[in-house]
Assembly symmetry: none
Homo-oligomer: 401 residues x 2
């Protein structure tokens, strides 16, 4: 179902939708036959909500595909992750709260080590400390390139974001990172005529950086990859008629939400409770709220099963504050799975509940992977959740007579 | 799966398929946690059939989309509702049993009220009685337009169907209905060069109608919208090799069935039992039967939960007459949901059972929304039901060696 079609059926309604995304929610049992993180968690409020909800398992991108945060979020936001893409460079810049604009091309940067012949000997420059990175970034900011602005923003250790800002830039560029040692860094090449000017400017920058860093071993060179412009996509307001707000502690998720036209709300503090306070404060001013929970994913990626369980329980304990606002539609789900036993993102479908007054409730009083597998939403593409939520919010009119 | 592919695998077989469509079958409970209309109904025969069937929930058009009768029926008939469409004007003409042909362009018409300056003051002419409509329609039939035939057919109250018949007509036309009062009716404009002649003819007709109706306030003008030709689609015989028959009291459903090449059978009387009698009478002459039940939808749209329950029970009581004919494949489902609590069509998936000797029965002895949510057909696009039914009727051969 494409957006043009859906857009034509959108009607206004005085309803509110809340989407709680527990990053990397889906899990696996510690031992075969055991319970997953979500199934192990004590979640009385989510279980009670599940009983009044339709349950299902969302597939973020496609069967067997493990999504990164970009495609995972775009999917659950309703965007076909094959059609819409956030380049790695853009994601890196958004992740450090860099205010990426439409005239920018961003890339992921590494400080690296090269020998006297320019052969890469360590792609990560011995993982220099973040402080060293900051000093070197200052140095690189002295570089001037013809007619464009450049930004070097420390991420951490050897990593930084590189942004070129100016008219007529294009991101169809090859990467300089050779992805292995023992060979020189590659020059940037244009992949189409429109990007030749950008390739030339980036190569100028790299050459100047090489000279400036010559005595800074182990960080005596830079590698750039994932060149990407700010992705232009239709917004929530244009597509769905929703004034949408995003609540996230971590900059990257605010960034992804901004790309789809959500307003990133100020969160006073950095706890999950602070996020719920931001939700309450702004409740009257928006139609749609996306609230991001980071701890579930970091615990999963750290392989800490019980920390993930507790992160889920923390969300459960805060659910009454959301429900007290009387949202018309509530979605609780995730952008992908991050089972602690895998210590990484995974391809597993993500448990999801959709509550509304008009949902056909499955009557399954449990929020968990196996409970959701029995739910009436079935196993569905994550991008299909938003249309169903909009229907439940009575924001889609009838098709045809 | 596109039709070309499926068509290449169709083989003949001496088997019969019966599809019982309860219009707007899917429902919602009156109170959260309660039973839906179908779950509340006492349906011993459907429950017994369910036990020997595969169950599932069909999604008529797409997630969250509430279909009208046109797209709802095309989907359950096996047609991709994004690819095939029945325009509103064509549906209106079919709904009054007008014999729409390939040289016709049809529109929905309203009598309306305009002031001395031609400003629309009431888009529905105060909802004039159907008798008045018939008198005015007679008057409009006097209008002659160059080289084409015109038809004005009363629907009810202020509504009529307008049909233009002749060579070289095209339906790419804008509407005259401004959709609000306080502005004049719009002229019809051609949306492409091929429709310029038609636009000109329609505008001629409207001008003549305006003059004829000048002293007929409140019905002193007409509005036309939803211009549409008779939709041309591949037929059941061409696609599936099925000699298909349609049994429906209401003209619109006979019309939609005729579009896909079904023969609309004569029903003596206007009860559901009469429809089953028509089924029995014609059993030997066709391979496929579509039998339409209207009352479930009208009860749903009227918000009458228990009337819908009884309409379902009426179908159940007649099921033995169908089963006595020993059909090879039986589909019982709907074209969309019409929950009484919503008093309208809705987006909810539709409970569906598929019985045959070769179906992998789920052993769930209950026909209801939650029972079907547990069924092995899963949540599936409505258009996928026909290929599965054809396979069960042994009418699809093996693909590849």
């Amino acid at each position: 179902m494409d957006f043009k079609f859906l857009q034509g059926l959108i009607v206004p309604a005085p309803t509110k939708i809340a989407m709680i995304i527990m990053d990397g929610l889906g899990g696996l049992p510690l031992e075969p036959g055991g319970k997953t993180e979500l199934e192990s968690a004590c979640t009385p409020h989510l279980d009670a909500l599940a009983a009044q909800s339709a349950l299902g398992l969302t597939v973020p991108v496609g069967p067997g595909i493990t999504p990164g945060s970009g495609p995972g979020h775009l999917s659950i936001f309703g965007y076909d992750p094959f059609q819409y893409e956030i380049g790695r460079g853009a994601l890196e810049a958004l992740g450090i709260d860099f205010d990426l604009g439409p005239n920018d091309v961003a890339a992921r940067g590494n400080f690296c080590s090269v020998d006297a012949e320019g052969i890469v000997t360590d792609r990560r420059a011995g993982r220099i400390g973040t402080d060293v990175n900051r000093e070197l970034a200052k140095l690189l900011r002295e570089i001037k390139v013809d007619g464009v602005e450049t930004f070097i923003e420390t991420v951490k250790e050897h990593r930084f974001a590189f942004i070129l800002r100016g008219p007529g830039l294009d991101d169809a560029l090859t990467e300089t990172d050779p992805q292995k040692t023992g060979v020189p860094a590659r020059p940037v090449c244009a992949l189409k005529p429109d990007s030749e000017k950008t390739a030339c400017l980036v190569n100028q920058f790299i050459e100047k950086a090489r000279r400036l860093l010559t005595d800074k071993y182990p960080a005596n060179m830079i590698l750039l990859r994932g060149f990407a412009r700010y992705p232009v996509m239709p917004t929530y307001l244009e597509l769905f008629g929703l004034r949408a707000a995003a609540i996230a502690i971590n900059a990257m998720y605010r960034g992804v939400a901004k790309i789809v036209g959500m307003q990133a709300l100020k969160v006073e503090g950095d706890t999950l409770a602070d996020e719920f306070t931001a939700l309450e404060k702004n409740w009257n001013d928006f139609d749609f709220f996306y609230l991001h929970v980071k701890k579930t994913d970091t615990a999963g990626e750290d392989g800490d099963f019980w920390r993930k369980v507790h992160a889920i329980e923390e969300v459960d304990a805060l659910m009454p504050r959301l429900l007290a606002l009387e949202p018309d539609v509530v979605i609780v789900g995730g952008d992908h799975s991050s089972p602690a036993v895998l210590k990484s993102h995974s391809w597993h479908p993500v448990p999801t509940l959709l509550y509304s007054r008009y949902v056909r409730a499955d009557g399954i009083a449990e929020f968990g992977e196996r409970a959701c597998a029995r739910g009436s939403l079935g196993v569905l593409p994550a991008k299909d959740v938003m249309p169903i939520a909009l229907a439940n919010a009575q924001r889609i009119t009838k098709l045809g007579a």
